[in-house]
Subunit: 357 residues, 2 copies
């Protein structure tokens, strides 16, 4: 059932791995939805999806699709986001975008609701959802920043195939079948659609996510370094914390792992303090009981909204430095849930200027 009052909402890229999850998260959310449009490429137009008991036909996204829309939840890739979201804003909508297209724009807030919801206040129509790996890391870092300040972050990621989309996820499972059938694995998408060569991911590790820059870092690694600074300190070039990243794709369908080394600004911080702070941090579930083999695992995080943190260890040679193991569902907190959660914050703060109101 749609609400009689509320927002006219559109989901852009409604049929993808993230889009279908935005639909499900929206269904469970507190946002009053008066009407819902499902928008996608012409290829998916005509398909039907259910929302709160009602059938909705997917339409092809055009600029005019956004007439009368208050809120756009977008997961349609960078070039479409670049083209269509300004059209939506021109027509009076507020758009939350999952692509990397708008994240570094100084006029666009980059938001993780547990960390910097106050950044929403200055939005000019578009709000960017950060990169999946960045989101789960800053959820774990923010409570430590707040308690101690941060000096340095060194992260190595273990990223799931679904981060590269539904087709990459399908490719991984297909490769597993090929391997067990004694066939040669074929690869057409991974490590990244945007590059020339493709390699099997099944039973392998691919230290490439997105394309490479001249300094040797991948765009994914650069995103983690810049977005972390923008979210935590308001500036992608902030010198308040040093961040370096290594991003690796692993043969896991859903659920990113991260080995995070963090040096806080207070050398007296202990392992127990850090565990205590994380145990009560918003959006975090501390799973840290080594004696009983309790630690975060991707298969346990699938379908959950929270970020799971465990394996907290003090670097005994560097006071104030800690190793953490951080896992989250990259399609939910890393994408769909964070997007809907931003929308809930926009509603709560009355930052969607509904045209129907």
């Amino acid at each position: 059932m749609m609400n009689e009052t509320g927002y006219d909402v559109a989901i852009l890229g409604a049929t993808g791995a993230v889009g279908t999850r935005i639909l499900a998260q929206l269904e469970q959310s507190t946002i009053p939805v008066k009407s819902l449009k499902l928008l996608a490429s012409v290829r998916s137009a005509g398909q039907t999806r259910q929302f709160r008991g009602q059938d909705i036909v997917v339409e092809e996204a055009t600029p005019d699709s956004f007439d009368g829309v208050d809120l756009v939840l977008a997961s349609a890739g960078g070039s479409l986001a670049g083209k269509l979201l300004p059209e939506a804003v021109k027509r009076g909508a507020v758009a939350v975008d999952n692509s990397s297209r708008w994240r570094m724009d100084p006029n666009v807030p980059l938001v993780v609701p547990e960390v910097n919801p106050e950044a929403l206040a200055s939005h000019q129509g578009i709000i960017a959802n950060p990169n999946c790996s960045t989101i789960q890391m800053v959820v774990a870092l923010e409570p430590l920043r707040k308690a101690y300040g941060l000096n340095q972050v060194i992260v190595s990621t273990y990223q799931a195939a679904s981060g590269a989309g539904q087709r990459a996820w399908d490719e991984l499972l297909h490769q597993a079948q090929q391997h067990l059938d004694g066939e040669t694995e074929t690869a057409e998408i991974l490590p990244t659609k945007g590059d020339k060569k493709h390699f099997p991911l099944v039973f392998n590790l691919l230290p490439q996510i997105d394309v490479f820059q001249d300094d040797g870092y991948s765009f994914e690694e650069q995103k983690m370094m810049q977005e972390t600074k923008k979210i935590l300190f308001g500036d992608p070039k902030s010198s308040e914390v040093k961040v370096t990243a290594t991003a690796v794709r692993v043969p896991v369908p859903i659920g990113h792992g991260e080995s995070v080394y963090v040096s806080v600004a207070d050398e007296s911080a202990t392992r127990e303090d850090v565990q205590h702070i994380l145990a009560s941090a918003p959006g975090v579930i501390l799973e840290d009981d080594p004696a009983n083999q309790v630690y975060p695992q991707p298969i346990n995080a699938v379908g959950k909204r929270e970020t799971f943190v465990g394996r907290v260890r003090a670097d005994n040679e560097n006071p104030g430095s800690f190793n953490l193991w951080v896992v989250s569902d990259n399609l939910l907190k890393g994408a769909a849930w964070n997007t809907v959660q931003i929308a809930e914050e926009l509603v709560k703060r009355d930052l969607i200027h509904s045209q129907a109101k």
Copy 2:
């Protein structure tokens, strides 16, 4: 064909994942073998293996098996190594051991031939082969230590199932089949035989290798920290370098990956310098051409003796600090090849006092 002169050799644990590879590496080695005994548990006794065209029947290992043996290459687990290797030494043999049993013994050299072959000179009968993850890391670190000195190492591992033995490797493949058949994955070995609970590794990440200590580190992580110091600086508690580690099991059959962050003692070191040094380092193959998507991958390292290093990047916020991606065949350089390579060094340095000579 056996040599008419040479060494009487025994392989202890000859039928395991590492033992079968020690046999193959010995076959290809320069070591003159006069006779070869294959020793294993009573379960494997009676099986036949080929060596240089000759059939050899596997015998049950007992203390008396080592009568007349000059050189023992052992991969039979810690408790058997603790019991049997002193018996071998008592009978005049030199033993190279793959287990962790002897590695921290101050009287036992812990050797990676590219790094510290000179440590062999002081052996008292037993030489320890380091942990697989440690070996490939120190092969990549030693040339940087030599050129610059080292301040700090922070490593996150991506370790293959075969590091936990043939049965763990089989379990991973079986779980993959179960997953594709829509069955629930069963786990009896991973993450580690020695602990109470078992979890599926396929399409998952297990941040546990070996059992945990009170400080939260796993034994695998402790091994990496202590062994690295002993190999590079002669003392497992050396303060000449700081080392911290996070060890994670990934769904890969063979080939460990490592994300290594290293701070060298010379802040003027550049990315190009580090690449240049690694390109000519012994045992290292530099695979570092991001523009052409050339970087180390486990599937390409399988069956190779070398350690592959790539993704060299300078931490632009910390002069003298670099990110590396290091991959090697954990069963070869991480175990069987390093063992046979130590034996070759012992021969070359005339440190096996053959009783037949």
